[in-house]
């Protein structure tokens, strides 16, 4: 896609010189006429919330201010409240960052393995695996989360029953959702399940661009599959791996519904909040819109940095081509 950006546009249908100048000028404006609609929609939908949420983050905006309509400017107080104290640094940030790191690593590793598997399957089995993966990808996150919660239900979930039957769990059971670590282990299972199909299919498509002769030649030289993967596939596929890693990072940093809909994630268990949930609960549940907005701005800044890395990775890909 990026390569064709630099190619000249298709020749004009009629020689431009044969047309009056007015028409030619309208030609120069044509891209912007086409772009005006989409760009206006994007600008409106993006700029308004960004400006508004930034303004809110500098205000005291609670129930009282909602009713009076007169918010008070309090400078950086909301940021101070969010950034000071242990809660952000010991609970929310580790929840966000460690969860994202584990989920990204899991998604990319599993996606790669499934992609390699797909490459070696026969057409029928491949269609079956891709089909079930696509259904998992398209399953709404809300319903997906409900299922994982049921599977791990402390009373009647299949996991509890299986573990008790195997003698690996005491009959009184265990509530996995109250403990932060097991809560996030379930969230990781859910998010990887939902996220790996996209990664697997992207990497699978990328694998088909690796010339087979390279593998053949390396094989003749005695390189085993493991060696060939690291010495041929990985270097050639570096841009693809960069793209899927950064995309997953962004998705997993802003995971919201999957946490919020788990027991305790809706505000009752502050131990399990991530940045998104914390922002949401502060705003919507506690009516501290100023604080919630400040946290949202912090999350946006983190995502912005990752996006910039992503864009740079894409441009580097251009230069390679």
């Amino acid at each position: 896609m990026a390569t064709s950006l630099d190619e000249p546009a298709a020749p004009a249908r009629v020689d431009p010189a044969a047309r009056p100048r007015r028409v030619r000028r309208s030609r120069a404006a044509r891209p912007w006429l086409l772009l005006a609609g989409p760009l206006l929609v994007i600008a409106g939908l993006l700029l308004y919330p960004i400006v508004r949420v930034t303004v809110l983050s500098f205000q005291r905006y609670g129930l009282k201010e909602v009713i009076s309509g007169k918010p008070e400017f309090i400078g950086l107080d909301n940021y101070r409240e969010a950034l000071s104290g242990d809660y952000l640094w010991k609970t929310v940030l580790p929840n966000t960052v460690v969860f994202a790191a584990v989920a990204v690593a899991g998604t990319v590793v599993l996606g790669t393995l499934v992609a390699l598997l797909l490459q070696h399957l026969g057409p029928r089995l491949r269609a079956l695996v891709i089909g079930s993966a696509l259904v998992a990808w398209a399953l709404p996150a809300v319903t997906g989360t409900y299922v994982w919660v049921w599977i791990f239900d402390p009373d009647s979930g299949i996991v509890r029953r299986t573990l008790i039957a195997l003698g690996m769990l005491d009959p009184e059971g265990f509530n996995w959702f109250t403990d932060r670590l097991s809560f996030y282990a379930i969230a990781v299972l859910n998010v990887i399940h939902h996220g790996y199909p996209f990664i697997a299919i992207t990497i699978f498509a990328g694998l088909s661009t690796v010339p087979e002769e390279l593998h053949e030649a390396a094989k003749l030289d005695g390189a085993n599959a493991w060696r060939r993967f690291w010495s041929i596939t990985v270097p050639l596929m570096r841009p693809v791996f960069a793209v899927v890693t950064i995309l997953s990072t962004i998705w997993d940093f802003k995971v919201f519904a999957q946490i919020y809909l788990m027991p305790g994630g809706d505000g009752s268990n502050p131990d399990v909040f991530n940045l998104g949930v914390w922002s949401y609960v502060s705003s919507i549940n506690q009516n501290k819109y100023g604080l919630g907005s400040a946290i949202a701005v912090l999350l946006t800044l983190v995502l912005l940095v990752i996006t910039m890395i992503y864009v740079r990775a894409l441009f580097r890909e251009d230069e390679l081509q």
Partner: protein, 287 residues
Amino acid sequence: MQTNLSTKTRNWMAVASIPVMIWTAIPLLWILATSLKGTDALADPTKNSFGNFWPKDPTLENYRVIFTGGASDLFNPALRNSIIVCLVATLISVILAMFCAYAISRLDFPGKKLILTTALAVSFFPVIAMVTPLFNLWRQVGLFDTIPGLIIPYLALTLPLSIWTLSAFFQQIPWEMEQAAQVDGATSWQAFRKVIAPLAAPGVFTTAIIAFFTAWNDFVFSSNLTSSNNSRTVPAALAFFTGASQFTQPTGAIAAAAVIVTIPVVILVLLFQRRIVAGLTSGAVKG
């Protein structure tokens, strides 16, 4: 794909794909099984086989609850809202994205890369940061809890994605063929209809499916920008389900509703698997 594999390796590969498929499929099967359990089977594991998994006595009770029973006044409007909101949002964003993608792939002007980068950056903007501002604005302008009030924010989810995917597709179209057809005597309408439209259709179609999935998936906008059956969509409505009595969980009804909202997705996936794969990968790999 690769011919140099021994039968033994192939068999191992087939074996290896089994756990992947099981892990992928279990949540889907689990919803289905739960939706077929009656109230007694949900409460009593002995009424199910395979370790509380499949009901011994499958029943459509839960589907009756959501379509004609206790949850129907919640579910039916939500399903209608979901369909309307997602279809309209998809239609608008695909049409707008077509203008954009056409300009980017066909016309020569500076700033193409900037536009694509902006579209990408927008899709990374966290939804929770948009909810509070939109909530306040929608209350002021009267869009709160209306269908358009949900379609507009859904465009923020679907439009950047559509621009990104469709641009990738349109740049693969050999536009010179349009001229070639005209040289051969076709009118410009014929050239568009017979040459360009068939080439562009799969991309447009795939983009529409991906955009639809994204909108269908939304929970945050729908649960915060709606307050009644006027516009609430299914993912948000699930939270309002209640059990048959005060003391029972609405698990069965939620499962049945989840099956119903997943069915269109499954049908689309099975029918258009190849196209979706092409659409998913065109944006990222060739990005």
